[in-house]
């Protein structure tokens, strides 16, 4: 298991060092600094073995986190733990920075003592941790016995992510379907690869221990219902449903139930959390199409023309559109003409950046540029990087629709109808590239 955990700043100074196992010595701290942090090259592997000691490292802004071991540990678990550690720290004191870590080092040691015992990760849900590890030392020393056992049963219990006795005057929940659509297209307009990775993020402000059930237009569920002889027109429902390649759930979701009935039921944590992640590859609505045209005029000039077409309902508006057209390193000057938005050549980024604030569906826009090049004797041909695009659209490119989110709380007297629910869809560009 994990033998020790170190946190360094970018210079390699130790900010936190917690050793869990006898086989990890102080020299491990220095070995990592010398071999990884001070090594000039970029990181060639996130797992580094130095003198029979393995270092798992991640970097958050300027801060290095390294877990150290001499045993055959579960590598995936160690990285998951490091990410979790970052989440917990962020939940406690915000951004992970050298200053924040120094300011909270006592707290961090306390957390490390709690969430890692002899190198074994323990309950690391911030909801539970915050009940007994606070920045003000332990919350009011003279706790009642009931309070204490409530804490311990929550930390160890089946529903470690939610405490009992939560009360809200207004029961409310917010559902965000956040998708990022990824595309790699050939210059001829052929889709080389496309997928949507989506997340359902939920903010719940619900009283008691509510039981929730979430439904979406999952093809498997809808087909099953169609076969069951419901009144739905099978043709219609088939069209509206989507095929989900794979999905993963927050630990509150009962996985065995999903596996057998494909229903998503859970008792939600309080506040904001990620309910599920999913991935689809079929029938993706690609919100934009990029048509590039690059022509080399002699050795010192390039002509570039790029057309973008929006491909969604005309009533919807896409926002924050940005097209990035790479230019060769030996560019000396650029002249741009665009119909809409603003375009600028940014020499430091070797690209023409074209920004459009808003664009409705089923529209088309165009930019043309003349790039002048310095003559070079560099043998290496310019490797044309792809044209990339950023945008935000108010629908889910995968076609996912939330069908329902039902809330049941039998002990308290509020019903599903009393809960105010908000649903929002946001589609963003992931890596959305067209080769030219």
């Amino acid at each position: 298991m994990i033998g020790g955990l170190f946190i360094y700043n970018h210079k390699g100074e130790v900010l936190i060092s917690r050793v869990y196992r006898d086989d990890i010595g102080r020299n491990a701290v220095d070995a990592f600094r010398v071999n990884v942090i001070h090594a000039r090259q970029q990181v060639r592997s996130p797992v580094t073995n130095i003198a029979r000691t393995s270092f798992f490292h991640i970097k958050r802004s300027n801060i290095w986190l390294a877990a150290v071991t001499k045993q055959n540990v579960n590598a995936a678990m160690v990285f998951e733990f490091l990410y979790k550690m970052c989440d917990v720290m962020t939940a406690y004191f915000g951004k992970i920075s050298e200053e924040n870590i120094k300011n909270n080092f006592v707290l961090i040691y306390e957390l490390l003592d709690e969430i890692l015992d002899f190198g074994y990760p323990q309950n690391s849900e911030t909801g539970a941790l915050k009940t007994f590890i606070t920045q003000q030392g332990i919350k009011g020393q003279p706790q009642t016995k009931e309070e204490q056992s409530q804490i311990t049963s929550q930390v160890t219990g089946q529903i470690g992510w939610r405490r009992e006795g939560i009360k809200y005057r207004r029961n409310e929940l917010f559902l965000d379907v956040l998708e990022s659509v990824n595309l790699l297209m050939s210059p001829q307009g052929q889709v080389l690869s496309a997928h949507v990775s989506g997340r359902v993020v939920m903010k719940s402000y619900l009283s008691g221990m509510p039981e929730c059930k979430f439904g979406m237009n999952d093809k498997i569920v809808i087909d099953k219902q169609g076969k069951g002889g419901t009144t739905d027109d099978p043709g219609k429902s088939g069209k509206q449903s989507i095929a989900i390649d794979d999905c993963t759930f927050h630990q509150c979701v009962r996985l065995s139930k999903f596996d057998s009935e494909r229903s998503i039921s859970f008792i939600p944590p309080d506040g904001e959390y990620e309910l599920m992640r999913y991935r689809t590859t079929k029938d993706i609505i690609l919100p934009f199409r990029v048509i590039p045209l690059v022509r080399e005029v002699g050795r010192t000039k390039l002509e570039v023309k790029v057309v973008i077409k929006s491909n969604f309902k005309p009533s919807l508006l896409a926002q924050k559109i940005e097209v990035r057209i790479p230019t060769p390193l030996n560019t000396s000057g650029v002249q741009v003409i665009c119909m809409k938005g603003k375009a600028k050549y940014k020499a430091s980024e070797n690209a023409i950046v074209w920004k459009i604030k808003r664009m409705a569906g089923m529209k088309e826009s165009q930019i043309s540029a003349e790039i002048e090049l310095l003559p070079t004797n560099d043998k290496k041909k310019w490797a044309r990087p792809p044209i990339s695009m950023n945008f935000e659209v108010p629908f889910a490119p995968s076609g996912l629709k939330v069908r329902y989110l039902k809330v049941f709380e039998s002990k308290l007297n509020y019903s599903d109808h009393d809960v105010i629910k908000w649903v929002r869809y946001i589609g963003r560009s992931g890596i959305y590239e067209t080769r030219c």
């Binding site: 055959n72 002899f118 630990q251 996985l255 992640r277």
Partner: protein, 934 residues
């Protein structure tokens, strides 16, 4: 509130000031002081001088302060064991506290203090905490048992904590179950043979129930534990799989990977025609693909594992090629791994896409990545015949880019393509020749020279091209020199008239002006071949070459099976078994996949991709360096063939003899002798046989003539941790009458080692090094070097205990290290040890009975002829053979280097054991041999 100020105290007399503050009456000031102490500790300052003062702060109601003091204690208790005792009372008291959080804190901290005296006091509180009413305390106590076991394993067993821990597996709280499982699994690792986990269907059922309820981490512990269970039959296997598959949808990638491990393992037991088997295969692909959208570090772990899974079961991901396409901003380690998997998944169906991608990658920035991409194009050509033409033209395009390293890499792979498809793409040679000047890497130069030599008859100016290389012959690397020599000889054999001068020039360069023995030898061989029999030379040098294999870099099947059992762990990331990087006893256990279901159907189902590695695994191509170094350019010759030493595996009857002093013979104790540890596990009962005589005789069933004495596998003599990073393993061998000590020196330190020397202490047979230890080049970190040290028997003599003990001193630039090892007595059996029959008879009678020993060797299924043949390989000579009452009697003699004779009478009984009767001319020595067949 900011704590960063604690890091900034650098004044002199700091310790003194802290001391005063720690003893202050004000609680706040005390707390501040402890915080300062912890901050100093973090940055590596030694604050152990404050021990008593800090411990005094322990008696407090303030939990935050208490935790800080505990943290300090865990760090320094070991250096101040006597003072640490002061803390015991507080711990014991805290273990009785009303607040379960404090009870747990006390027991958790106490387990981390590795001081014997404290450990004693820990037992009682721990026992109570293991049965505490609060689950939080119980789950902490469960882990504490593992801590205690790490400090004092015996104590844990004596106190019966293991049984209590086992009971916790049935606990009502899922987290307690998970921690108990984790603790038990860890303890079980250091007791490989104990049945500690005692997994049976009932406990498995409990674990599976807890799996649904516990935290993500607990699920990982349980799944990892489940993976070590061996289901009784396919039905149980299926039912476990069914209950594990829901975990594939967990958000935590480690849970997913551990579930994949369980499924991959248990799937082995399912019959392939089962519907469920197919369903399971289909279910495995999506979660594996999803892992690739995790953070880059996890992607890397996932990709390393997918690499294994693809080799084991290519059918799972064969349709998922696209997800392994490299993204522009992937970190380099992710890119390189993806590329590896792309090559493995490449097939006729997707080759067009793959090639288009690879061509894109070849124009990227990172040199390593570009090289690998170019090499991958070559691999595709070799793997998918239909694509070869496309690959070659892609490579030609790349050569046109004139980017130096791209061109060189392309030439190296084109050479392989020529090998695979002879007489098909030679038209491109002209283009290749244009780039001759830009090649500066030895591998590329050698490849180009090979091409010129191989196709000399089609290249008009081949002689000019090769001649141009010849100018700087001595500045070339060996690889290039050897290749050039061979290429020119080929050229000469093809165009003898015009190239006579050239060939003479190269032969003289190689044989007269070079000090490289390999080059000289090869030069001489060619020279003689050419001068004695040109026809034979032609047959040898221009021989037909065997085809090269399609798959590359495949992991050896047994290792692959073991790694599959370690999915998700470090072993699967390194692609090495745990024993290769874990010290001590942990992880040395080799894990195996369960036996295949339905032995009758070993063939893969028809829809499996063409590269099912399960049967007749393709030979692994040795690395490029070896290819070109081979004399006849037969690329498939295994690299080991050039090693002159006797390989144990090549012997028909391998044999190890171990003698002991007479006293040790009678005492019957040979514990720890090398031959016992080197014995294959299947012969587990052997050491007990024959009164503990350790000469074992591994007769693999062959009847051929023995080819030499047995050489035991190398054992580790000097551990790296005891010798500042130098690890020495070795064995002894007798080759052609010369005693040799074969050593492997490994540098596990972080600095270079030089100046090696070796010396022996005086020993029973006067063994001494016959020459210096030949380590010519400095040994860089992680490098291993093999040396053979010839030994003489003319050194000073002193009787050792045991007789065959040898004390060795090895020196390097760092220090002098000492170790002792034991050599098999058979090392000293000389070749002229065959006694005359008459002399034998006379001597046999003359030896007093005091010098005689008898013993039995059991479980040998050999007839006398085979046995005598085997023994002769080790210079034990059969003088006569007699048959008495249907039993064969062998009379044998052995002569030691110091002139002592040993005579033996061996009776081979129909019962499968031997009776051996030994007599010796010198009362102190008796040898024993034990024949053992599998």
């Amino acid at each position: 509130m900011t704590d960063s100020k604690y890091f900034t105290t650098t004044k002199k007399g700091e310790i003194f000031e802290l001391k005063a503050e720690l003893n202050s009456d004000k609680k706040e000031k005390k707390k501040e002081a402890v915080k300062k102490v912890i901050a100093s500790m973090t940055v590596g300052k030694d604050v152990s001088a404050l021990f008593p003062d800090v411990v005094n702060c322990m008696q407090t109601d303030n939990l935050e302060l208490k935790k800080l003091v505990y943290l300090y204690l865990m760090n320094y208790a070991k250096s101040q064991p006597d003072m640490a005792i002061m803390a015991v009372n507080t711990f014991v008291k805290d273990c009785e506290d009303l607040n379960p959080l404090i009870r747990a804190l006390a027991v958790r901290t106490m387990g981390c203090i590795r001081v014997d005296k404290i450990t004693e006091y820990l037992c009682e509180p721990l026992r109570k905490c293991l049965k505490d009413e609060d689950p939080y305390v119980r789950k902490t106590a469960a882990v504490c048992v593992a801590k205690l076991h790490d400090i004092n394993a015996q104590l844990v067993e004596d106190q019966g904590f293991l049984d209590t821990l086992k009971d916790l597996i049935s606990d009502s709280n899922p987290m307690v179950v998970a921690n108990a499982v984790a603790a038990l699994s860890e303890i079980a690792e250091s007791h490989p043979n104990s049945n500690l986990l005692d997994l049976n269907p009932q406990t498995i059922n409990k674990l599976l129930t807890a799996l649904n309820e516990c935290t993500e981490w607990g699920q990982i512990f349980i799944l990892d534990c489940l993976a070590s269970y061996l289901p009784r039959d396919d039905r149980e296997s299926q039912s476990i799989c069914e209950r594990v598959t829901p975990r594939l949808s967990h958000a935590n990638s480690a849970v997913v990977l551990s579930a994949v491990k369980v499924l991959m393992k248990f799937m082995e037991m399912l019959p392939k025609d089962l519907d469920y088997y197919g369903t399971l295969l289909k279910k495995l692909a999506p979660p594996l693909v999803t892992l690739l959208s995790a953070e880059p570090e996890l992607q890397y772990v996932a990709l390393r594992n997918i690499n294994l899974i693809v080799q084991k079961r290519p059918e799972i991901l064969k349709h998922e090629m696209k997800v392994f396409f490299v993204k522009y901003n992937d970190p380099i380690y992710v890119k390189l791994e993806k590329l590896d998997i792309m090559i493995r998944l490449a097939s006729q169906a997707n080759i067009a896409q793959v090639l288009a991608e690879l061509k894109e990658y070849a124009t990227e920035v990172d040199v390593d990545f570009v090289r690998k991409a170019v090499r991958a194009i070559g691999r595709c050509a070799i793997k998918v015949e239909q694509s070869a033409e496309r690959c070659v033209s892609t490579l030609l395009d790349l050569i046109q880019t004139k980017v130096n390293y791209v061109v060189q890499e392309a030439i190296v792979v084109i050479k392989d393509i020529f090998r695979k498809y002879p007489n098909k793409y030679e038209s491109v040679i002209a283009t290749l020749c244009e780039n001759l000047d830009s090649l500066d890497e030895p591998e590329a130069r050698a490849a180009m020279i090979w091409i010129v030599g191989e196709y000399a008859e089609r290249i008009d100016n081949a002689d000019e091209l090769l001649e141009s290389f010849l100018e700087g012959f001595h500045d070339e690397s060996t690889q290039v020199q050897l290749q050039l020599l061979t290429a020119i000889v080929k050229l000469f054999l093809k165009k003898p008239t015009e190239t006579q001068e050239l060939v003479q020039q190269v032969l003289s360069l190689a044989t007269q002006d070079s000090d490289n023995p390999d080059l000289r030898d090869r030069g001489y061989i060619y020279w003689r071949l050419l001068s004695t029999d040109p026809v034979a030379a032609k047959e040898v040098v221009l021989a037909e070459k065997p085809l090269i294999s399609e798959e590359t870099d495949l992991i050896e099947p047994t290792l692959l099976e073991e790694l599959i059992c370690h999915i998700g762990t470090l072993a699967s990331v390194y692609h090495k078994p745990p024993s290769a990087f874990v010290e001590g006893s942990r992880g040395v256990q080799h894990k195996r996949l369960p036996p295949r279901a339905g032995s009758g159907e070993s063939t893969e189902s028809p829809d499996v991709g063409q590269s099912g590695p399960s049967e007749a695994p393709p030979a692994v191509i040795p690395s490029q360096g070896d290819l070109l170094g081979d004399l006849l350019n037969l690329d498939l010759a295994p690299p080991t063939a050039t090693v002159p030493s006797v390989q144990p595996s090549m012997q028909m009857g391998a044999m190890d003899l171990l003698g002991g002093g007479l006293d040790s013979l009678l005492g019957g104790d040979i514990g720890g002798s090398p031959s016992v540890t080197a014995m294959p596990a299947s012969l587990g009962s052997a050491p007990a046989v024959g009164g503990g005589l350790g000469d074992l005789f591994d007769l693999g069933g062959g009847v051929g003539m023995p080819t030499g004495s047995y050489v035991a596998p190398k054992t580790v003599w000097l551990l790296a941790m005891k010798a500042k990073g130098l690890e020495i393993s070795g064995t002894f061998a007798r080759r052609g009458g010369i005693i040799q000590m074969d050593l492997s020196l490994t540098n596990k330190a972080m600095s270079v080692m030089t100046d090696f020397a070796i010396q022996f202490n005086r020993n029973s047979f006067g063994l001494a090094p016959a020459g210096p230890l030949q380590v010519l080049t400095p040994l860089s970190p992680n490098q291993t070097i093999d040396v053979s040290l010839p030994l003489s028997t003319s050194g000073p003599v002193m009787k050792m205990e045991p007789l065959n003990n040898l004390q060795v001193a090895v020196k390097n630039n760092i220090d002098v290290f000492y170790f002792s090892c034991q050599y098999p007595l058979s090392l000293l059996f000389v070749e002229d040890g065959k006694m005359d029959r008459q002399v034998f008879l006379a001597t046999w009678k003359d030896i007093p009975n005091d010098n005689e020993a008898q013993f039995q060797i059991k479980d040998i299924h050999l007839n006398s002829d085979v046995a005598s043949n085997k023994l002769q390989g080790s210079n034990i000579f059969t003088i006569a053979k007699r048959t008495v009452e249907g039993q064969d009697m062998l009379y044998q003699s052995v002569k030691l280097t110091n002139g002592i004779w040993v005579l033996a009478e061996m009776r081979i009984q129909t019962e499968p054991f031997l009776l051996s009767d030994l007599k010796c001319t010198e009362p102190r020595i008796v040898y024993a041999n034990l024949l053992h067949s599998q």
